[in-house]
């Protein structure tokens, strides 16, 4: 007769040095796993603890694998990775202990396979990624057979309850714009990979205000560009505590990214029914559906993005229909579904670890 293996203590090791989408998703997912009766210990850089704090979540500093295993005595481990090589210090040690473990990769570059597959310690682990393209790139980067990496979809926020007219008026008023002025929005880390370098030229090509929210290494360059913009159409907002009203009130969100995993900002915009203008690379995770859920730039440069943005502004009805389709897509990606999937992967990690023993 079969006995029950019950996983009660989950060690989560987050090898990140800054707070972004991966880290926010990890904290939210861990909080919800804790609500399912798991004792969750999230080990991360202490500098991130304040931002990672969630009800029911215990936080600890990252330490050596042996020390964390000794301190927390977990039944299983969950290792979210912001980049393919981020887990090289943790994974081999967990593999040696034959602990049931789930690895989740959030982003991976499109790179040729390495000459020698790295020893990642993935034997006996359940490996997942946030999108199909990231999953395939993970298999390439880690020398895994095709189909070895499964997909754990990012969840979307719940549908918006904000009044669109009120949000539109409020954010335009805050910018000193007329109530009927067109407004484009960028929301994300101000760095090269997010396409932030293109923002000044995109703005220069369009006769509408482009509000830029976020922070990052390109902040200084963008502040200078905004200050020197004679039309004052490039506006810097800084980091937003609550981007929801901006997404609800903007005419479109720009995503000029060069690389994305499963971008949470797209799902946030979709939940607010904000039309999205993006490079194909930004929405690679959507596969063939990207073209119906967002306006894709024909070229991944400022000219392509500006032309696509102008097309959205010129046809509000088509933009609204596209945003509605995106909202329906996002509505299917719930936290309940993500947690259900994560629990299934954790359960599968038990026989996977046994097979590797």
């Amino acid at each position: 007769m079969t006995t029950v293996t019950r996983l009660r203590r989950l060690l989560v090791t987050l090898p990140s040095d800054r707070m972004g989408g991966t880290e926010k998703h990890t904290a939210e997912l861990c909080m919800r796993l804790a609500q399912k009766g798991l004792t969750v210990m999230l080990a991360a850089d202490p500098a991130l603890h304040a931002a990672l704090a969630r009800p029911g979540l215990a936080l600890a500093p990252l330490a050596t694998t042996a020390a964390m295993l000794a301190d927390h005595a977990p039944d299983a481990a969950f290792i979210p990775l912001p980049w393919p090589d981020a887990g090289h210090a943790i994974l081999p040690g967990l593999a040696e202990m034959r602990l049931p473990r789930l690895v989740l990769l959030h982003l991976a570059p499109d790179a040729p396979p390495p000459a020698t597959a790295p020893a990642m310690g993935l034997e006996g682990a359940v490996v997942a990624a946030v999108s199909v393209p990231v999953a395939r790139r993970a298999e390439t980067a880690w020398g895994l057979p095709p189909g070895r990496v499964t997909v754990l979809d990012n969840p979307a926020p719940p549908p918006s309850m904000l009044d669109r007219a009120v949000a539109r008026a409020a954010i335009r008023s805050g910018l000193g714009l007329p109530p009927d002025a067109s407004l484009l929005l960028f929301l994300g880390r101000l760095e090269e990979v997010k396409g932030a370098t293109l923002l000044p030229e995109i703005s220069a090509r369009l006769p509408v205000t482009l509000a830029v929210a976020g922070d990052g290494p390109l902040r200084g360059m963008l502040d200078s560009a905004a200050a020197s913009d004679p039309r004052r159409l490039l506006r810097m907002l800084g980091s937003l505590a609550d981007p929801a009203p901006w997404l609800r009130g903007a005419d479109a969100l720009l995503m000029p990214s060069r690389l994305e995993g499963a971008p949470l900002v797209f799902l946030e915009a979709a939940a607010q029914q904000c039309p999205v203008v993006a490079t194909p690379a930004a929405l690679e995770a959507l596969g063939g559906a990207a073209g119906s859920l967002a306006r894709l730039a024909e070229t991944a440069d400022a000219a392509g993005m500006a032309a696509a943005a102008q097309a959205v502004l010129d046809d509000p009805a088509a933009a609204a229909a596209m945003a509605a389709r995106a909202a329906a897509h996002a509505a299917r990606l719930t936290w309940e579904g993500a947690v259900t999937q994560a629990l299934a992967l954790l359960r599968a990690a038990v026989p996977a670890a046994r097979r590797a023993a």
Partner: protein, 613 residues
């Protein structure tokens, strides 16, 4: 005696069997549970020093005696108390009185049992003949499934007959009355011929005013006949006490069960899943946190077979299972066979990431399941049996009841006059679960008949454990904006160390993230509280809500210990109740988990409020 009241908490103690005496002024007793001492003050009986809401003294409530220093000291109390109460003046006399009352109660119970057995034995040699009460001739075909009301109470029914128009598959028949299954039959197709099919009950149906309803489902080409009047072609007979039969194709496991809710799944529990065997390969039960375990199957390359034996179908008609693949498994396919008296089979079909299979159940007291799996992966593959449940099939198309003039005017089923100390004795065959078993007796004083109030005895629970008997869903509602949703839940048989509550009704709601319970005082809702907690009032009448906001303030509305015990017990089982209700409402597993989480959030809020946190 006019206008006598009694404390709600004290009444609850007497209901649970505590003997109660009235203390004359100035008298006291050392604590001697279960003895309940009462003082009469301002027309209400209550424990010395107790304060709380009082209720009118019900007729069934019996007092043991008046405890006074002398007979004269008891006189001022008599006008307010039931007539004929004895007066005891010493403790030894009081104890003797208690012992005598307990012995009488025990003797009466034994006498009632003996009388019932004697009656059945006396009649067994010459059982009464059944009398026909319904005869509708066949006139044309009828479609299945069907739900046929019989147009008369179920009381006394001993046999039914349906007319088989075309044999071609098995038949499933279920006789219901008053929310209970009186009998269930599964007739295999191989034994069916065209013509009348007679089905017996093991004993005549017990007294009940509830109308008898016959649910019928068929397999394959099986068809029944309808009558010219519209209902199915039917015959029915009644018989008096003493009639019995060994019924063919009778499903003993379903008899006496609550009437099944169409579509309600009955998940196979972990204990039974643990007996499943996968060959070749391995099966293990895995759970995360507090969830129910799932069966994880490790399949070697090629084909494997999972076997699970001894499933008891009860009232279920369908088997449903969900397979899911946490990781992609190339070429995964499944085939399913369920074997009873015959075998039903689902051929090979590909399995994507998640697949639900459903298969009607064959006839048979127990069923064996065989799930075949194959895949094309190079190495071992993991597949999860996420859910395995038996379910009651859809309700049949309703048919008209037989017109009154078609009912045979038979004399009432003869009753044998036997002097019995208890009123309304019910003949109950061993193993015949008509519903609540043995009545509870209340200890009473001399001169008052020991009242065998037919109060159901709730399932035994360990001391301090909280449990409930049944969950029904009245409504699942989500508003169009998605900002409000509720489950309107009926709960029966809630029992805890603090009390027993037969029927509850409440809404578990989520209003923009605020979780709560809503109780109403209105028609259609059972009386749940000793003292209605002060809440609000709207177009539908008074209501009281217990929410995750302002929880401590809301709890202060509960005025009696019994009512506080009710909420404590309900909150303790609320996550399980919420999950069962969500499943009964055919919500997805994710939604069921969400409702359970909402219930858990409310339970935590109440626990924090009660602990002063």
């Amino acid at each position: 005696m006019t206008g006598l009241s009694i404390g709600a908490a004290e009444l609850a103690e007497i209901e649970r069997g505590a003997p109660a005496i009235v203390l004359a002024p100035g008298m006291s007793l050392p604590p001697a549970p279960p003895l309940l001492p009462l003082l009469l003050r301002d027309g209400a009986l209550a424990r010395p020093g107790a304060s709380g809401p009082a209720l009118p003294m019900p007729r069934w409530c019996r007092l043991l005696a008046i405890y006074a220093p002398t007979e004269q000291a008891a006189e001022p109390l008599r006008p307010m108390l039931p007539a004929g109460l004895p007066v005891v003046t010493t403790l030894p006399a009081l104890l003797t009185l208690m012992a005598e009352a307990l012995a009488r109660a025990e003797t009466a119970a034994q006498a009632a049992e003996a009388a019932r057995d004697a009656l059945k034995r006396a009649l067994a040699g010459a059982p009464p003949a059944p009398k026909p009460v319904l005869d509708l001739a066949p006139a044309g075909p009828a479609t299945l499934p069907a739900r046929q009301p019989l147009g008369r109470p179920a009381e006394g029914l001993c046999s039914l007959a349906v007319h088989v128009a075309a044999p071609g598959g098995g038949l499933g028949l279920r006789l219901l009355a008053g929310g209970r299954v009186l009998g269930q039959w599964r007739v295999p197709g191989a034994v069916l011929d065209a013509g009348w099919l007679v089905l017996d009950l093991p004993e005549p149906a017990p007294p009940s005013p509830a109308e008898a309803v016959l649910d019928i489902s068929g397999e394959g080409e099986a068809a029944l006949s309808a009558s010219v009047e519209g209902p199915l072609a039917l015959r029915a007979w009644i018989a008096g006490p003493g009639w019995s039969a060994l019924p063919r194709w009778f499903d003993w496991s379903a008899a006496g069960a609550p009437a099944p809710t169409p579509g309600l799944p009955l998940p196979v529990g972990a204990a039974q899943l643990a007996t499943a065997k996968l060959e070749p390969g391995s099966a293990e039960l895995v759970a995360v946190g507090e969830e129910a375990p799932r069966l994880l199957l490790t399949l070697p390359p090629g084909e494997a077979r999972l076997r699970l034996s001894g499933l008891l179908p009860g009232p279920a008609d369908l088997l449903r299972l969900v397979l899911s693949c946490p990781e992609a498994v190339p070429g995964l396919a499944a085939a399913l066979t369920v074997t009873g008296m015959t075998a039903h089979h689902l051929p090979w079909r590909p399995v994507e990431r998640r697949m639900e299979l459903a298969l009607p159940l064959p006839a048979g007291p127990t069923l064996d399941l065989a799930l075949a799996l194959r895949h094309a992966a190079d190495g071992a593959a993991t597949v999860e049996l996420s859910w395995l449940a038996l379910a009651v099939g859809a309700e049949g198309a309703p048919r008209p009841a037989p017109p009154a003039q078609t009912l045979v005017a038979a004399a009432a089923a003869p009753r044998v006059a036997v002097g019995m100390p208890m009123a309304a004795a019910t003949l109950v065959a061993p193993g015949w679960r008509t519903g609540p078993p043995a009545p509870r007796l209340t200890v009473a004083g001399p001169g008052a008949a020991i009242e065998a109030a037919p109060r159901p005895e709730m399932p035994l629970a360990p001391l301090g454990a909280t449990s409930f008997q049944d969950v029904a869903v009245n409504q699942h509602l989500v508003n169009t904006e998605g900002t409000y949703r509720h489950l309107d839940i009926g709960l029966s048989g809630l029992v805890s160390g603090g009390g027993l509550w037969r029927q509850l009704r409440f809404k578990l709601f989520d209003r923009r993230g605020v979780i709560g319970l809503e109780f109403r005082e209105m028609k259609g809702w059972p009386q749940m509280f000793d003292a209605w907690p002060t809440g609000g009032i709207d177009n539908f009448g008074p209501f009281w809500r217990l929410e995750t906001e302002d929880t401590p303030a809301r709890l202060t509305a509960l005025r009696t210990p019994h009512d506080r015990a009710l909420i404590a017990a309900l909150v303790e089982v609320l996550p399980d109740v919420a999950r069962a209700a969500a499943q009964a409402a055919s919500l997805s597993m994710a939604d069921a988990d969400a409702w359970m989480m909402r219930a858990r959030a409310l339970a935590e809020a109440v626990s924090t409020a009660r602990s002063g946190g």
